[in-house]
């Protein structure tokens, strides 16, 4: 126990409380002070053991220091700093406080050693992230945030039910490897799966993130899904279903990403695609695969954050984000264009960029363990991610046909955050050793071998060749003003109208019952009125003598009954 130190979430929580009371112009400072203070605190904590407290007889482990938690802790501090710098001009109380509570909850989540702490952090993330979606303050954002909250809170309930079953069964609230052998384990698995964007329950992500503010999306992208990856890696490593779920996650979104028009939504689909790789890695469960999964989570937060920042900058400067309305922005936003290309190269796993040194660990593990079909599908997804995130995003935003828009590069703080993110993507790609040293298991993997570099370059160049060929021949589908329906159609067109219809029927039934019951009810009321009303038997003023007489009669009756 390290005496005067705080658990990692505390600096952010304190900053969030301050954000509620300080004047607006000081709020952005808190966004930067919290991660810096938090990092110093975390560094000091790394020397000591854990932090514990007690609640209703259960031990709460607020700080569990092991390499897995620690890696995500460092990652979340970096992401919070980059997001804070990007949002440095934001004074909105709701956004700043939500962002800080959100980071605090995510840190509470990855350092929690027991189910109760985990649940509190889980719910904290739900509430704070809903605040970030709501902060766009459009009617659309309001209705989306309600659906978003419903899904997240539902996942929270599943987690709670599962955790209670497990605590009941084992008598311990410790959060370690769970497995899928019990109902409680399965419920928790599904809860984490919803947060991670498993296929079919992923639409909260693709629906909510693109309607949040330019800065909100940057925060949102970093925490919820990566916390879920952490939780799956902790609770369910080596569970085979994860391999197939992850493969589906890696493959299906790329089709959507090709035809989606909203460029931030394209990035959301590619986020699910990248999460798929991580989930496969966790499912494979070997030390190489798990290392790959968490390393890729680290790289993904940085390059996805960078890409969302560049698209956020475009949205911020132009008010537009649809591919069909953008194009030609490289002329007036050269710096943003360059930084976006760094992000695109990183997510595409170009040699010397971060994705190259992390994703390949997962691919290698899949091949080594003989999952050849999975490997072919992941390779397909790798080519696809280059196609839609690597080429489509920069191409349709900054090149393609000239939209006539001439926005300037964004403010210094946005450029600074993007430049820092891009620098980290390159640093990890060029010199992966420091990241490898943070991984939970010793790393015995060399990313830079001649065959690997040539193979990856071939894959990427020929994917680009396919794009060029399809563009030249006019086979490539143009960006169209449209929306693409996904599994959320079921929720919005079948389940919610069903619930609404059911509620309508119940209301009508209730109204009918009221009408049917009206006459007897009126009769009853008038009867009560006749007896108890001003003119009623019980409404009259009685003489004291009468009352004494009545009491005497009652007592007499009582005596007779008692003695007979």
């Amino acid at each position: 126990m390290s005496g005067s130190l705080l658990p990692p979430f505390a600096p952010f929580l304190i900053a969030a409380l301050l954000a509620l009371v300080v004047p607006g112009r000081f709020r952005p400072m808190l966004l930067l002070l919290a991660p810096v203070g938090g990092a110093i605190n975390l560094w000091a904590l790394s020397e000591g053991g854990g932090l514990e407290t007690e609640l209703m007889g259960y031990r709460l482990e607020l700080f569990r220091a092991d390499s897995l938690s620690f890696l995500f802790g460092i990652l979340f501090h970096i992401a919070a700093f980059l997001g804070g710098l990007f949002a440095f001009k934001i004074q909105d109380r709701l956004q700043v406080a939500s962002a800080l509570v959100y980071v605090a909850s995510a840190l509470g989540f990855v350092f929690a050693g027991d189910f109760i702490t985990l649940f509190i952090a889980f719910e904290g993330m739900t509430i704070a992230s809903t605040g970030l979606v709501l902060a766009r303050r459009t009617p659309m954002a309001t209705s989306v945030s309600l659906r978003y909250f419903g899904v997240q809170a539902g996942a929270g309930l599943l987690f709670l039910a599962g955790a209670l079953l497990l605590i009941e069964e084992t008598g311990s609230s410790h959060f370690g490897q769970i497995g899928l052998d019990s109902l409680g384990g399965i419920l928790i698995f599904v809860a984490f799966g919803i947060k991670c964007g498993f296929p079919g329950v992923h639409t909260w992500l693709t629906e909510a993130y693109p309607v949040s503010t330019p800065t909100g999306a940057v925060f949102l992208s970093a925490f919820t899904t990566k916390a879920a990856v952490y939780a799956l890696a902790r609770g369910f490593p080596g569970e085979e279903p994860l391999i197939y779920i992850g493969t589906a996650m890696a493959v299906f979104p790329i089709f959507y990403a090709v035809i989606e028009n909203d460029l931030r939504r394209v990035l959301c689909y590619s986020m699910i695609n990248q999460l798929g790789f991580m989930v496969v890695g966790i499912g494979l469960g070997t030390t190489l695969a798990l290392n790959g999964a968490v390393a890729h989570a680290f790289a993904d937060v940085l390059f996805k954050g960078l890409l969302l920042m560049t698209m956020g900058a475009v949205l911020h400067q132009t008010g537009k984000i649809n591919g069909s309305e953008l194009g030609g922005l490289y002329r007036s936003m050269p710096l943003t264009t360059g930084l976006c290309i760094v992000g695109a190269a990183s997510i595409s796993a170009f040699p010397l960029f971060s994705g190259f040194v992390t994703k390949s660990m997962i691919m290698a593990a899949a091949a080594e363990q003989g999952y050849s079909v999975v490997w072919y599908l992941l390779l397909f997804a790798s080519a696809g991610v280059f196609h839609h995130a690597g080429i489509k995003i920069p191409f349709f935003a900054f090149f393609a046909h000239d939209s006539g828009l001439r926005p300037r590069d964004p403010s210094w703080n946005m450029l600074g955050a993007m430049a820092l993110g891009a620098g980290l993507c390159l640093a990890i790609g060029i010199h992966p050793a420091p990241l490898y040293a943070l991984l939970p298991y010793p790393v015995d993997y060399l990313p830079y071998t001649l065959p690997h570099v040539i193979a990856q370059l071939q894959l990427l160049f020929f994917s680009a060749l396919a794009f060029a060929w399809l563009k030249m021949t006019g086979l490539y589908p143009p960006e169209l003003r449209s929306i693409i329906i996904d599994a959320d159609w079921l929720l919005r067109r079948a389940v919610l109208p069903g619930v609404r219809g059911f509620a309508g029927i119940m209301i009508r039934l209730a109204a009918g019952a009221e009408r049917a019951g009206e006459r007897p009810a009126r009769g009853l009321l008038s009867q009560i009125f006749r007896v108890h009303g001003p003119e009623g038997v019980f409404g009259r003023t009685w003489l004291t003598g009468n009352t004494v007489l009545w009491i005497a009669a009652l007592l007499g009756l009582y005596l007779i009954i008692y003695y007979t």
């Binding site: 065959p451 894959l459 160049f461 396919a466 030249m472 449209s482």
Partner: protein, 81 residues
Amino acid sequence: MINKEFRSQSRALKRAFWIFFTLCTGLLLADLLYDKHAILKPEAWFGFYGFYGFIACVVLVLVAKELRKLVMRKENYYDER
């Protein structure tokens, strides 16, 4: 096969395309120069990654184009009711 839009592009862009095609060819030929240590058998085939990447992307785009017919709606689809 090459459409009008491309033929009207600037000379600089066309030159960039030719450089790109040359690079692609170079990468393909590079496959002859080193020993592959493939885990899965097809990895050792000549130009496997290049051909796989090209075919994957063409299939991806053509399938996605068909998918559009199934899932694309007007922008106000959810507001109608």
